[in-house]
Subunit: 443 residues, 2 copies
Amino acid sequence: MTTPKEFSSAALALIDELNSRRAVIGILGMGYVGQPLALRFSQLGYRVLGLDIDAEKVAQLNVGHSQIEHISDAAIQAANHAGMECTTDFSRAREADALILCVPTPLNKYREPDLSYVTKTIDSIVPYLRAGQVVSLESTTYPGTTEEEMLPRVAATGLAVGEEIFLVYSPEREDPGNTDFTTNSIPKVVGGHTAACLEVGKALYGQAIDRIVPVSSTKAAEMTKLLENIHRAVNIGLVNEMKIVADRMGIDIFEVIDAAATKPFGFTAYYPGPGLGGHCIPIDPFYLTWKAREYGLHTRFIELSGEINRAMPEYVVGKVVKALNERRLSLHGSKALVLGISYKKNVDDMRESPAVEVMELLRAAGADVAYSDPHVPVFPKMREHKFNLSSVPLTAETLASYDVLVLTTDHAKFDYELIALNARLIVDSRGIYRTPASNIVKA
Amino acid sequence: MTTPKEFSSAALALIDELNSRRAVIGILGMGYVGQPLALRFSQLGYRVLGLDIDAEKVAQLNVGHSQIEHISDAAIQAANHAGMECTTDFSRAREADALILCVPTPLNKYREPDLSYVTKTIDSIVPYLRAGQVVSLESTTYPGTTEEEMLPRVAATGLAVGEEIFLVYSPEREDPGNTDFTTNSIPKVVGGHTAACLEVGKALYGQAIDRIVPVSSTKAAEMTKLLENIHRAVNIGLVNEMKIVADRMGIDIFEVIDAAATKPFGFTAYYPGPGLGGHCIPIDPFYLTWKAREYGLHTRFIELSGEINRAMPEYVVGKVVKALNERRLSLHGSKALVLGISYKKNVDDMRESPAVEVMELLRAAGADVAYSDPHVPVFPKMREHKFNLSSVPLTAETLASYDVLVLTTDHAKFDYELIALNARLIVDSRGIYRTPASNIVKA
């Protein structure tokens, strides 16, 4: 990397601090994204400061307790031992040379971007910004956020952006539960507000991440993350629509997808399911939808996928009603066991899980609802859902005691043979059971 | 492969003929799909009979002239030498043990399936069908075609399907111009009307193709091919929509796609362009749309992609008008040179090429239109388009003589440096030129 000599001495000094790992890294928001990033920097010898508004989380981290299933206590403890500190005192942002924002960007109930976590976080550190710092936003958001929301706040300090203080956007690409890739082996896209900002951004992540992908602007970096998740939402929407068509024609969509996936070019397999879950795919695309309106544009693929994907829990419950009806049972009064309630395979993450929507619909229709999930021993507190339930252990007896099992999330820990052997009726929304059987219905 | 003993002796005998390469292979329709398949069987020692209604094509093939750019005369001559014969005499279908239909399945002007090539072909061989034959349909079509259109005609011979005569559906996956894969290295999906039909189908292709992918029904095989092409049409539609949004926001979609493609999971790059071309992607999806209506279903992703992709030539021409206008020129009266008019890179195939649509729109607006394409020396006869033009050789002088160059198809043979150096204005719909320049406009 050649550093043009026209960069300011503050830029050159900061780049040097970052490259030599003497810089202090401040992580704002110690959640699914912030924690693995903090651990990675700590492992490399950087001093790490974790800032979070959640006092309980901070206290737990400081005594070495991870609250995320796939992050071990030992990893937190090792980082603490190496000097990582967590705090709710945002004035300590002044100590950090780099400030990385890893806060949520949800939607409000009108499906509009809720940037309040981003703006509150930047507002709370603005009083403590100083020359020689870099601020990096990692939260997924619409193109223009860094220029329109971050820049004015950082510039209001009077510090010259690109000369004294540096601003970058670098989207997180964390994929909890993905065992093939870790924080460092996932290439990192970085856009800078100026050429010097980009150079600082490359130095910020250059030690921690194997491959940095610089782009020409913060807007391009923002759009990159959205495109990744829009691609996914649309492809899942497409196979969900194809599932409905294939089902009506008497064709098993899972068999078709697997056959299509043997084409060695031009096709990538996506699988249907009971709907979209997680903190990204159901939400992020609508950030672009909202911003596009400002330009008089309508993002039709995003709207269509949203519509189809959001209708999938209803589709699954419709299949349950139909299958019970064929057995002369009403859903009202039936005992239903939902299998797998986290939003994806082998994780405990419940955010936006469509399985919960299925549980709500079953309960609303009068079913007696229970669930089993090896990753979720007790149904957690959720903002919009309340179930006083614990995970039902799967035995021959418990399985046989339900009128219907609704398979919503595939977990490696499930014993599918035991389930099939003892279930009266399984409604399978994950394509687990491929061989037709009298007690299995595809949904 | 174990052959269950309940299969008929006709099935077992035919399987043996096919496995031992003693079978005669009849190919019906010697075009982009039929020719490479015929050559492959011939190379393996099978005797091949090529049947086609086009007497001129048959005569050319019999004297060793290929009419397809990527198939050499030498390859045809070698096959002829090994015994391949082409004929318009469909009564000779009787000689063949296998009859493989590789005929077009276009849309009529109401975007409805036109199965006339399939039905005419099967009708023309029905009088010559005999026990011990297998009939395989390779044409892309809606789920149910084999059962609804092929089966009744084959069964009308009085021969017992699955006992005396065998019926399979196995979609072609030819990708002209793809140098990474050849006919034999692209796995082949096969569905049979009965278990015996499937077994015969596996034997039919088992010698010629490295990997056979059996599926449970002809319907599943039909749906597989459609899903592959729907996936592609939808993904291209999506990036075309994203291009329009990104462009309005001042973001280069090609830069964004390349950055997103560095994500090692969950993303596959598709690129925008001036519209969809070829005999598959713009057409095949609507076969499912049509059939789905019978089931009361509307295939919304297919309709949306069709709408967006079909609007792209207009979008490109809109960019041309805007760019000329900024230079105080009207399109009316301007000299426009369209670069690349085949439907995709490095091939001579003009079918459904969106570049031709761009040429039509430019001409309709009053431009003086020319084209340059190293693969298309003379503008061919097309059903719906007429241009009395030859390819303009690209020199510094010719390039400089046009008001605008419209880059519609990327060919490796183009000298892009020469073009950029001499063009007054380039409207680039393929993302060739990434560095901003005063004479380059992205479309």
